[in-house]
């Protein structure tokens, strides 16, 4: 019996169904006190649903939840808070125009005669900050904080409420490698102080680096719990996907043909500063090769891709696509020859309120197959969307009628990639193509991109993940402060060398050959 009390949280034999579809089937998850316990599963496997049940957002159909050995009933988020369970959400829930301190105390304010007592809160928070190494300027407004600092504010929010079960839902998806390292250290500090942590992530190396135990679920079923020390990436991915997964990308040497995209001396203005976001960038992408842009985010990659796809005006320079000058062309004109997997899928890639069918037709609804005299052909659209879902293994409970907002991020991404690659354009532009998707899907996406290359497509990828850049690219361009700092061959370079270029510590002179 004593053994039971070592568990901070136990979720026993949890069942949950939506619209007669079982999403959790007899799941058991036990969190020991003072451990970091990772929860691993494919997109849509039920991790988020399980955590939402723990957080009182959904109610389980069957099963039992115990906190410190006692059975509890969690009906809403307030119940969870009362049980000292806190969650850092994937998308931050902060008020932009409030200071960090105001955000942290929001909802748990100490007041006297109706006035905020910030001094008390400040004292407590300063203690927490120094204890856990959570550097945050408490008086800075959220809108002026970078992503890493915002996340630390979210963590402080949980600690301020004296939570001792902390849920981190894909916290590293939005962080740079340096920030990720910091976060992992913070998690270790929290653990050392006796907090119990549930860590959800798709990045196996992070899970292995920081967790004590890992529970794997697959399609709503419990697969197993393993100690991090006794396992490795390959084993975990197989448990998760249910088959052997190729973590390495298999590809032959590229056999480039004619240039598809030629960019000459491109300059784009920045929305934020006087300096140009993209400054005199020249390169080309040929049919049958993958060119990858590496760089710390915010160094002009976004603006470069937006300019190429027509979302951002060009200040000067020239863009040639399939030999045509498209510098000033509209998005629609450009998309006749390119497909675009956007950086921010919820902003550009999908319409959250629309169902899958409408989302899958976004780029094609004007084609004659899907419209007649200005009226949409619903059946043709549904049939087309069903095909994309099938071919790309998109998990959705309601088929083509599933509303985008109800789908997991990874499945949204799979749908977007399916849609874009199906456009069959000579140039494929993909920005962060595997952001937030699980290993099984990463394998699929990488395979598709290489396949497209072998079919003679020109592929341009921007990615923040160096390992992805190294695996996929035939050529690497490193961007730093809006310029191409280095042009590298992945077979001849190292992570360290790319890192130097990314940080601006190393820079090549401009070459006369503008395109290579």
């Amino acid at each position: 019996m004593d053994n039971m009390h070592d568990h901070a949280v136990e979720m026993l034999h949890i069942d949950k169904a939506f619209n007669d579809q079982k999403v959790l089937d007899d799941i058991t998850f036990q969190l020991e006190r003072g451990e970091i316990h990772a929860l691993l599963g494919e997109n849509g496997s039920g991790k988020t649903t399980l955590m939402r049940i723990l957080f009182g957002i959904f109610k389980a159909d069957a099963g039992e939840i115990k906190r410190d050995g006692a059975t509890v009933e969690i009906n809403n988020a307030n119940d969870a808070t009362a049980l000292k369970i806190g969650m850092v959400h994937q998308h931050f829930e902060l008020v932009e125009v409030y200071t960090a301190l105001e955000n942290i105390v929001l909802g748990a304010e100490d007041t006297r005669h109706g006035f905020l007592r910030k001094d008390l809160a400040r004292k407590k928070l300063e203690g927490l900050i120094s204890n856990y190494g959570l550097a945050v300027d408490l008086d800075e407004k959220i809108e002026n904080l970078n992503v890493g600092a915002r996340q630390r504010v979210e963590i402080l929010k949980m600690l301020y409420r004296d939570n001792d079960v902390l849920i981190f839902d894909e916290p590293t998806a939005v962080l740079t490698p340096g920030e990720t390292e910091e976060l992992l250290q913070i998690m270790r500090n929290l653990k050392a102080e006796g907090k119990s942590i549930i860590f959800i992530s798709h990045k196996l190396n992070e899970l292995l680096a920081v967790s004590d135990r890992i529970t794997v679920i697959r399609k709503g079923k419990y697969i197993g719990t393993v100690r991090a020390a006794d396992t490795d990436e390959q084993t975990l991915s197989e448990m998760m996907v249910g088959r052997s997964v190729q973590l390495e990308v298999v590809k032959t040497r590229s056999n480039p043909g004619e240039p598809v995209l030629e960019v000459k001396h491109l300059v784009c203005a920045s929305a934020f500063s006087e300096k140009n976001a993209v400054n005199d960038v020249s390169f080309r992408v040929r049919a049958g090769e993958i060119v990858s842009i590496a760089g710390i985010s915010g160094n002009g990659q976004t603006e470069l891709i937006y300019a190429l796809t027509g979302l951002l005006p060009v200040k000067s320079g020239q863009i040639l696509l399939c030999g045509q000058d498209v510098t000033e062309s509209t998005v629609r004109k450009k998309s006749e020859n390119l497909s675009h997997i956007p950086e921010d899928r919820q902003k550009h890639g999908v319409v959250m309120e629309f169902n899958l069918a409408d989302n899958m037709i976004l780029r094609r609804y004007r084609q004659d197959r899907y419209q007649k005299a200005g009226m949409v052909k619903k059946d043709a659209i549904r049939e087309y969307a069903a095909g994309i879902i099938e071919a790309n293994d998109v998990l959705c409970t309601g088929g083509v009628d599933s509303v985008m907002a109800g789908m997991s991020g990874g499945n949204q991404q799979k749908a977007v990639i399916g849609r874009e690659l199906d456009m069959d354009r000579p140039l494929i532009i993909a920005m962060y193509p595997t952001r937030g998707v699980d290993v099984g899907a990463i394998e699929h996406i990488h395979k598709r991109l290489v396949q497209e290359r072998d079919n003679g497509k020109a592929v341009l990828i921007a990615s923040a993940e160096l390992s992805e850049v190294m695996k996929l690219a035939d050529r690497i361009l490193v961007m730093h402060e809006g310029e191409i700092a280095g042009r590298l061959d992945p077979e001849k370079t190292t992570y360290e060398e790319i890192g130097l270029y990314m940080a601006g510590a190393k820079k090549d002179e401009k070459e006369d050959e503008w395109y290579e």
């Binding site: 979302l311 004109k333 319409v351 629309f354 949409v376």
Partner: protein, 387 residues
């Protein structure tokens, strides 16, 4: 099938709850007034409460003083007549909502449509031009004037990112003043009939009026004409435009996610202006249909007030779940309430303000339909599947 039924329930039930709550509130209010006012007996309250719900079926009182109910062509016809402009402004608001825009400018668009169609209907002499042609021109004129008035906030939103609510309110008042400016001292003012100088001539004075289309036979003694048929046809057309056409798809796309619309190659600025033009055109047609009945008089000095029918388009659209077909019914419901109010004032000791309050409450509650729907869906989700 199950899915469609659910969608239907989720959209209609919240509106019915809002309407029912408004009526219950009205009945309670009437009861309180009854208890406080010595002139109103409990029997009077019972009469009032019945009239509140089915006043449009009232046939006055019999010799014993009891209320009589039954088919009343005058009331029903007038209900349809008054529903005509409400359906159109409701469609106007609903179309803009689908494109992510809040068209609170319907009163201004309505007023500009009204002004344009009256000017055309009265200025072109029917002696030299066929009245039918003038009628068509006046309808088109109302539509175009409304569309132009809608485009102004649309263009400001698209190119300068000014919130359309602010510009709509401003353009409403510009319309109110502009209309007065146009008519003041003009030859359209009815100076021939004594005491009518505050009004313009009826368009029937120039022989311009919408055909009755036999509706006067079905609803004798009422003002109803073919305008209601046109409004219903336009609502059906709008249904197909919004939910089945490429144009509507692009409108909804822009309304849901402007950035995604850009990504798809849509010129989102042009789309916003077009959406507001469509919304304005619908309100303008509504005004034209109302005034071209030939029998309505327009109090031209509008610079201090905006037409209520424009604002009422908002609750009509919301209660109708922004669905053009739903708007047909909610437009008729709102005008039925107005008829009921008149009956209460005519046949009981209550005054007509009580219905104004009840309409106000229903308007207020219409804003909660989305919330009610949210609660319904949440309850279902929480409960999971029940077998």
């Amino acid at each position: 099938m199950n899915k469609n039924r659910n969608r239907f329930l989720y959209s209609t039930v919240p509106s019915l709850i809002a309407i029912l709550a408004g009526l219950v509130f009205g009945a309670i209010l009437m009861l309180i007034v009854c208890l406080m006012d010595k002139n109103i007996t409990l029997g009077g309250f019972w009469d009032g409460a019945r009239l509140l719900i089915i006043g449009f079926l009232s046939k006055g009182r019999d010799e014993l003083g009891n209320l009589m109910f039954g088919y009343n062509g005058t009331h029903l016809g007038n209900m349809l007549f008054k529903a005509t402009p409400l359906i159109m402004t409701g469609l106007s608001v609903a179309a803009a909502f689908k494109a992510g825009l809040f068209n609170i400018g319907a009163p201004g668009q309505y007023l500009m449509g009204l002004t344009a169609s009256i000017v055309i209907a009265l200025a072109i002499p029917s002696a030299s031009v066929p009245a039918g042609l003038i009628l068509v021109l006046a309808l088109l004129g109302g539509m175009v004037a409304g569309a132009v008035w809608g485009m102004i906030p649309g263009a400001l939103k698209a190119y300068l990112n000014v919130n359309e609510v602010i510009t709509c309110i401003l353009t409403n008042w510009i319309a109110a003043n502009l209309s007065t400016l146009i008519f003041e001292g003009s030859a359209f003012i009815n100076n021939t009939e004594p005491g009518k100088s505050g009004f313009l001539y009826k368009t029937a004075a120039n022989g311009v009026e919408l055909p009755k289309a036999l509706l006067d036979k079905v609803f004798p003694g009422s003002q109803v004409n073919s305008g209601i048929i046109i409004a219903v046809i336009l609502a059906v057309i709008m249904y197909f435009v919004i939910s089945k056409s490429i144009c509507g798809f692009e409108m909804r796309l822009c309304g849901s996610n402007r950035e995604a619309a850009r990504y798809c190659g849509i010129n989102e600025n042009a789309n916003i202006i077009m959406s507001m033009a469509i919304a304005g055109a619908l309100a303008g047609i509504g005004a034209a249909l109302y005034t071209l009945s030939g029998n309505t008089e327009f109090a031209w000095s509008t610079y201090q007030k905006l037409p209520q029918v424009g604002f009422n388009g908002i609750p009509v659209a919301l209660l109708g779940c922004l669905n053009p077909i739903g708007v047909i019914f909610t437009g008729m419901f709102m005008s039925a309430l107005e008829i009921n109010g008149q009956q209460i004032a005519n046949l009981t000791a209550y005054n007509e303000y009580i219905t104004s309050i009840i309409i106000g409450v229903i308007v207020y509650l219409s804003a909660f339909t989305k919330y009610i729907r949210g609660v319904m869906m949440h309850r279902r989700k929480k409960g999971g599947t029940k077998k």
